[in-house]
Symmetry: C2
Subunit: 222 residues, 2 copies
DNA sequence: ATTCGTCCGTAACGAACGTTACGGTTCTGC
DNA sequence: GCAGAACCGTAACGTTCGTTACGGACGAAT
């Protein structure tokens, strides 16, 4: 863990290299486990020699792929200007929906499976990179929102990290582990929107200041 | 999904076979990824031919191992007699602590990693077995507790499944994904006890009936 | 004691795959 | 144009590992 996302990676990728990494991602989603260097070279219309020249070895290729995917997940900013309870709720719902969309995407599932399988061995922590760009990155982005909410008297909590972890649990629940284990859990736009709203309202019920209007929040459904 | 846990497995294992499966578990925890048939035979002091005679092939061995481990996780019963708010809270805390202990154990982590890696390929759903004996088994065991709490007027929710998933999220939060990805998150007895209590009180704050005494519940800490 | 079945230890086969090497082709700068 | 680099396609090498085969040891039953 050095500067931003556990090592920036070193070199800015050429478009050709990015295309190769996109091919890796596509293969990971389609073929899952059978991600062989030959398959990557075939899919990307490049030679294995080029792969080894660019990325060193198989781990280097996978690491570069994880970083490349992480670079796209960076989503919209959620600044806390004009903070009232409605804006805060909207921000939290946006965060939740965004996060649910990410973890339920086939790319994220394939990537996490790969990183988890790699964490079993000891070599080259893909798991650390995925964590830094996933779980911890979203935590860092949400923290200012939570603290702005507290400053504005809308939220009440002692530790922002603990509060975030509660929010994280309410949003994700069993979704990620079920998807990782192959459960055909449907996570379309409708389910994501519903879950994001429910989780946010539950979070506000736990950490919202009582005086912050409850009239537009239609009482936790379930 | 047939009777209890996605296929009972067929035959009751001999003690020798159980010892072999224990060796597999130990190897999975220690060596992680490098779980080779030769290593299992060496560790268990048996021949590879015996492994293949008993378990068919590598997948059969892994499946038997998952089932064998699942058979021990069966924990205490939580019947809902004499239900008052204190007993309910105690039951929920027990459930939460038990679950946290399971998912943070090295064995469970190694097993889930293996099943997730297997879910990437399509063959022989270890993921389904792990889900059936983990996430879904605990859901089935907790459901009667929740419904008894509702019958007794202590809890309020529409759907027991949804309520359980909320509890699941509050308990597990980011623990499982972090451990699976190799994060050195400390989860000792102290952390587990604290998390179980916090999650239970949060759940009761969301779904508890207001008239059920709040005096012994020391206001959600964070 | 002999025979049969079960199991151990080890060797061998074959496929998959990471890695390297090589000849031919395309692109770039002078 | 031309030299050199970068790159493609493919072949080859070595290792790992799942799977099978073989010979011998041990125990139970006849």
């Amino acid at each position: 863990m050095s500067s931003s996302t556990t090592d920036p990676g070193g070199d800015p990728l050429t478009t050709r290299q990015q295309a190769v990494l996109d091919a890796v991602l596509a293969l990971m989603v389609e073929e899952g486990d059978r991600l062989t260097m030959s398959a990557v070279a075939r899919r990307a219309n490049c030679s294995k020699e080029t792969l080894y020249k660019w990325f060193g070895d198989r781990d280097g290729l996978l690491t570069a792929t994880v970083r490349w995917q992480a670079a796209r997940v960076r989503a919209g900013r959620y600044d806390g200007q004009r903070l009232d309870i409605a804006a805060l709720r909207e921000s939290l719902i946006d965060f939740a929906a965004n996060w649910l969309g990410v973890i339920s995407s086939p790319t994220s599932i394939a990537l996490n499976r790969l990183a988890i399988g790699h964490a079993a061995s000891r070599k080259s922590n893909l798991g650390g990179i995925v964590l830094a760009n996933g779980r911890f990155a979203i935590g860092e982005r949400l923290r200012p929102v939570l603290e702005a909410g507290r400053e504005a008297g809308l939220l009440s909590f002692d530790d922002a990290e603990t509060a975030f972890r509660t929010f994280f649990g309410l949003v994700g629940r069993d979704v990620q582990i079920r998807l990782l284990l192959g459960d055909p859990l449907p996570m379309g736009r409708a389910e994501i929107a519903r879950d994001a709203e429910r989780a946010t309202d539950q979070f506000l019920a736990l950490h919202g200041r009582p005086e912050s209007s409850t009239e537009d929040r239609p009482a936790p459904k379930a």
